[in-house]
Amino acid sequence: MAEAMLAADGTPLKRSLARALRRQKLRALMLIAPLLIFVLITFIVPIGSMLFRSVENEMVGNTLPYTVEALAEWDADAEPLPSEDTFQAMFFDMFLAAEAKRHTRLGTRLNYETTGLSSLFRQSGRQLDDVADISYEPLEDFDAAWDDGETWYALMNARQTADDALMAQQRARVAALTDNETNSEVNFAPDAEVAALLPLAAREYTAWAVYVATQDGRDPATRDPWEAVAPALLIDLQTADLSGYAGPEADRLRAVQAANLPVANFVDAFVDMDEDWGTQVPWETIQTHSSTYTSGYFLNAVDAQKTADGVSWQPEDKQILITLFVRTIWMSLLIMGSCILLGYPIAWLLANLPMRKANLLLILVLLPFWTSLLVRTSAWKVMLQQQGVINDVLVWIGLVADDGRLIMINNQFGTIVSMTHILLPFMILPMYSVMQTIQPSYLRAAKSLGATNWTAFWRVYFPQSVPGIGAGSILVFILAIGYYITPEIVGGTKGVFISNRIAYHISSSLNWGLAAALGSILLAAVLILYWAYDKIVGIDNVKLG
């Protein structure tokens, strides 16, 4: 076996080479690092986090954690309504959410799935205090000490052993609900003995203490807890065995237990708030959409929906998005095609005229390019409308009757014409720069060898200009597919694109999840078409200049 070659310093040549190469690569990477980091922070991360919303669905579980848990066992086909325990869990979840002003946000989220839930949540949120008062007022009348935060604090705060697990759990609950940190100091820890004896009251009191301490910056020791602790306490006392309890407020607790104060029937209380709670609709919606990640937005994006019984199509009169996707793609192809047809001769002219004239022509191409998009689109409105310039001229020369003016705007024709005009420079410029590099001597050689004008063009010139067409087509097509303002202004009803729906869901309906799903599909469509283009034409054949 031959001996390995050594470099001058004695290391094997292979390793020495590899090291030198690695150093070079690292240096190159350092050079592009600023750009890479910039692109990463300003482009990849925001777009990624936006697209991530299309599957993210933490809000339901974060806002109603105990309800979601209780609902998991409910079978809508077997039982008309969820259990009383579920209603009870819903009450405590909603109460905390309403204090944090998060219930309406959840209502908005669920309203995307089931119409009517937005006002159901908003209105129920206002009435939760009344339900709590069913227990709170008798308790306070029975013994005014329960109206005093210090009584509660003395009862709940840890003496010997604290229930750290409960504390951590409630910190997490409030953090998930409010989207804020809850790690700051809380002047409270739930007593382990009381937490075992009165689990629900301890849970709700701890949640309250964490909330006021971390979100409002107040000391729970000196504040009165929310009314919801009263029903929690009375529920616990229905079953609690106080005989062994000797901690603070033991006598008061025994007296309350003996008094047998009223607790709301939560099923009735919810149905009283709004009769919709007595139907399966809101519960099924919550159950169906409670997972942390959801395919619901993507299903919505293709005119389907996620229901309690699985996936189904949207009702026919609400199906629109697939139509819009298809329309966006074929109209973009059409616009790309008309840009090629119009742009090719101009690019050829630009490349073959003498320099001075070519420059003048180039300015004419660029001038509209530098004008505001809105101005150009509005100009097309003036040109194309029924009382517009083109119709006026046609009527004047007698080509069309005054009452038979052509409809050229607020339809697909208007969108195609104005977008072709607006995107034309993106086709002409790459074509021009490619055509400039084509040697005129090739054409002359072809003709001197006997080719007709057409053959010389088609067999010699055209193949060399294809990279320019390719580059222009990719540019125009990708720009067109995401166009929004022009279709909105001149598209009427049949000339609008999918991006107009995305804009609607971003800024009007605030359904960012659906907007993200639509955006992801559009991005995927572009990538697939790009891939197909690469397979068929080859991306190496594209020249931008």
């Binding site: 119409t115 940190e181 009382q387 909105e488 800024s507």
Partner: protein
């Protein structure tokens, strides 16, 4: 996500620690958000200029983003960097911002000025306080205007003329969204005014409204910006069209176009201020101070000198005077004027908060057919 949370936490911390000693300290810069155009100019003249005169050293910057206010505020809030201090939005958006926890709740009696006769702010605004976060400013209406020279000898007097293409042939312009159009369609299809929303809440009712709109679908140009209808009317592209009453006022009185108002079945809506949540105590104090001044009785009445929208306070109505430049009486041009308000309709916020997405999907699918 982590970064956002840290940012949020640190803002929350500054807010918490700031409250203690913020009294009397107010920020000296404000960013006000509005709609641009004549409306924003009226706010500048009626509220902002006098406020800055009274508080030297305060500067106000305008941002014309009200149309995207909800989406932008949500994004700002998520990034933990709210750059707006006072935002002008329509009531429906205020309700959504309040629902999302993006707007500050206002106690009208504590934080807004009482009327000169001592009536409390909440009584003075009355029912117009449609959300806990919303400070009403003006009442506007979406109504129809028509070309006086293109409708023949009998100008339309009621809203159903829009659906009567035999008597009034020609194009009409309607807004490219279901709100208002569905109501008008049902009204003109024989549904009683008080039943409209009950009917519209059912799938059959929605189909009924779309079927009625279907009868004029080929004659409609759909608009998405408030300036479209005045332009279409001025160009003679349409013979009648819906838009905001202030836009029609400008076309009729300022540009002297041959257009007249059809006040029948005008839909009242509200526009007003909200203050975003998550401001520093200094900025919040400044915003509240400005709002208290800008929504008092005299200021709201002053705004009507520049634009034909009705002040939201009952006590402002008697103070409405003449247009600042044209010198004409503004009262007859207010949507709330008794002559104009014979048959009106109030935008049902609750209903549209629930049904907006559902009906919009149907409406857009119907449009695309």
């Amino acid at each position: 996500m982590k970064l956002t949370k840290t940012l949020l936490a640190s803002t929350a911390l500054t807010v918490a620690s700031g409250t203690a000693f913020a009294d009397g300290h107010m920020a000296s810069d404000m960013t006000l958000v509005s709609w641009g155009g004549a409306y924003q100019a009226s706010q500048q003249n009626a509220y902002v200029a006098p406020y800055i005169e009274n508080n030297s050293g305060v500067t106000a910057v305008w941002d014309e983003s009200s149309a995207e206010a909800v989406a932008k505020l949500r994004a700002m809030n998520e990034a933990g960097n709210v750059t707006w201090d006072v935002v002008d939005v329509v009531a429906a958006d205020a309700i959504r911002l309040c629902d999302e926890g993006l707007a500050l709740e206002i106690d009208a009696d504590e934080q807004l000025a009482a009327a000169p006769d001592g009536t409390s702010a909440s009584d003075d605004f009355g029912d117009l306080l449609v959300s806990d976060c919303f400070i009403p400013q003006i009442v506007y209406s979406t109504t129809f205007g028509y070309r006086t020279d293109l409708v023949g000898d009998t100008p339309p007097t009621e809203v159903c003329a829009v659906f009567d293409t035999e008597t009034y042939p020609g194009k009409r312009s309607l807004e490219k969204r279901p709100i208002n159009n569905m109501e008008w369609a049902l009204l003109c299809d024989g549904v009683a005014k008080e039943d409209v929303y009950d009917v519209l809440g059912t799938p059959e009712g929605q189909d009924q409204a779309l079927a009625k709109l279907d009868t004029i679908k080929d004659d409609v140009i759909w608009w998405s910006a408030g300036a479209d209808t005045p332009q279409l009317l001025a160009d003679g592209e349409v013979i009648m069209g819906s838009t905001y009453n202030g836009r029609l006022f400008a076309a009729i009185e300022e540009q002297k176009q041959p257009i007249a108002m059809l006040w029948d079945a005008q839909v009242f809506d509200l526009d007003g201020w909200i203050i975003p949540t998550g401001l520093s105590p200094e900025r919040e104090a400044r915003a509240l101070d400005f709002i208290k001044f800008a929504t008092d009785t005299q200021r709201l009445a002053d705004q009507a000198k520049y634009i034909s929208y009705g002040p939201a306070r009952a006590s402002s109505a008697p103070l409405v005077g003449q247009h600042a430049e044209l010198g004409i009486d503004m009262a007859p041009h207010m949507p709330t004027d008794p002559d104009n308000a014979k048959n009106t309709f109030l935008y049902n916020y609750e209903f549209w908060a629930d049904y907006r997405d559902d009906i919009d999907a149907k409406f857009q699918a119907w449009l695309a057919q």
